[in-house]
């Protein structure tokens, strides 16, 4: 069984951009251990030489001309912003 230690939870919460309370960290550890133990069943299968499949159908890059089809949606888009100033998105301080 995989043991998920505090360092793993810390790292994953950084990757996931989620702030976890101490209680949530404990719960996340338990949940993840239980789920990974279950997922480890996959190791019973020999997948040597099997190519990983992302898309079921053969897909290639599809190229096309970059044509503008939508109109001006500036107001609509800005209306959804949590904070907006002079037609721009306001973000918190990014460096000290």
């Amino acid at each position: 069984m995989k043991v998920i230690d505090d360092a793993v939870i810390e790292n994953v919460s950084i990757l996931a951009k989620l702030e976890l309370s101490e209680d949530e960290k404990v719960q996340a550890k338990l949940d993840m251990e239980k789920m990974l133990e279950y997922i480890d069943q996959l190791d019973e299968l020999d997948t040597e030489g099997i190519e990983p499949v992302i898309h079921i159908f053969p897909m290639e890059n599809v190229f096309r001309e970059d044509v503008v089809t939508n109109g001006d949606m500036r107001e609509m888009i800005l209306a959804n912003a949590p904070e907006e100033k002079s037609g721009m998105f306001v973000v918190p301080q990014t460096f000290a």
Binding site: L18, L45, P82
Partner: protein, 505 residues
Amino acid sequence: MKILDHTAVELSERIRQGEIKVAEALEAVFAQIDAREKELHCYVTLMRENAWEQADLIQAGIDAGNLTGPLAGVPVAVKDNMCTEGIRTTCSSKILEHFVPGYSATAVEKLRAAGAVIIGKTNMDEFAMGSTTETSYFGVTKNPHHTGYVPGGSSGGSAAAVAAKECFAALGSDTGGSVRQPASHCGVVGMKPTYGTVSRYGLIAYGSSLDQIGPLAKDVRDCATILEILAGRDDKDSTSVDREQMIPGKDGVKSGEALCAGNDFTKALQEDVQGMRIGIPRDYLKDGLDPEVRTAVLTAAEVLGQKGAFVEEFDLGLVKYAIPAYYTIASAEASSNLERFDGIKYGYRAAEAGDLHAMYKKTRAQGFGVEVKRRILLGSFVLSSGYYDAYYLKALRVKALIKKVFDEAFAKYDVILGPVAPTTAPKLGESLSDPLKMYLSDIYTISANLTGMPGISVPCGEDKAGLPIGLQLIGDCFQEKKILRAAYTYEQAIKADAGSQNGRG
């Protein structure tokens, strides 16, 4: 016949013949919503005013002879993870509580172009993560057949709304069974088409390689009719496919099957399963399957046998590996897709959160619910350096193996028949305490998502408590018409049987 008792196709026919006005249909459906919605909570957002405006335009279009399609004038609902221009779209999440999209999903546009009246956005599990609609930020939806039970999920609001006649049909999305399973639990017909059949443009992504939009409807005819309207290649979704142009032996269509691949799904509504080969995976009938569900499903198989299909049980294999492979892949894709919710351009932002990085973490911590966070964390883990090969790539390799066992099965059979879910709808509040147990209930539906195959859920009886049971028919990729034909044949046989029994009584 009361307006609400019509199927979508019947209603549109009567509207187009001038026997019913669009406004009357809308009035009937809103009266039903007034009567039942408080108890059931199928909708996150009702679009009353907007619907009345649409109704006037659509009535005018019908009167002018411009709207002649089979859905013209029909009030329908849309799951709240599909963007609707100017109408808030929440994914049943706090993080999108006030989000108003500037454009509509292609599927929504197609419904509108067909003259359907969109009346509201239905409740769902948050970001479609869940099997009961209980993870919604806006509260649970109740099963119309018994309000002590869940409607299934994640498209639980859509399924319940159709079952409660709070709309005539609805759109759902299916990433691991989220159309078929609630359809089964609510006693309606639900279908997930082959991956790529319906454009995902404007569908807020959960697991992009698995997500498909599908109809929830009162019967198989409505289901095929709606799918025919939705299907088609869309330049805005590069994974959507042009089924009309497929080349046999390539593009995922097997040789000799090209004629089946087109979008004319209603042509498959024929009572004819003569010589159709139907396989029942023995692995689907084993431990964990409720005996009442088992009996109902096997009885349905017998009906198809009596209609001339060749039905037998067989060993599919690898069934138990589908769930761990699925949850690895779906969580990985979810963790990536949900990165966009960062509190900058739209959605919830945590107040006074400090610097940018702290704001991201607080916004997401406060904006997402427990199940969504659980999957984002798991997904971030399986994609992280040092675990990527062992978990994520391993799951993608197992997916290849699962695809192979289904390819072998479809070399022998036209259709795979089985249950939709191991049990009928669980009681409210029973599922969330043990997520793994909830995941296990997806066992019969997730393979169709992993392999891209179409599946349909058709009502096939009810249990002692009066809760509906669903029959699932799975087809090979692009073979919707086979499962539609089998589903239609079954439905007609059951109707005829019920009719003759009523006649005797």
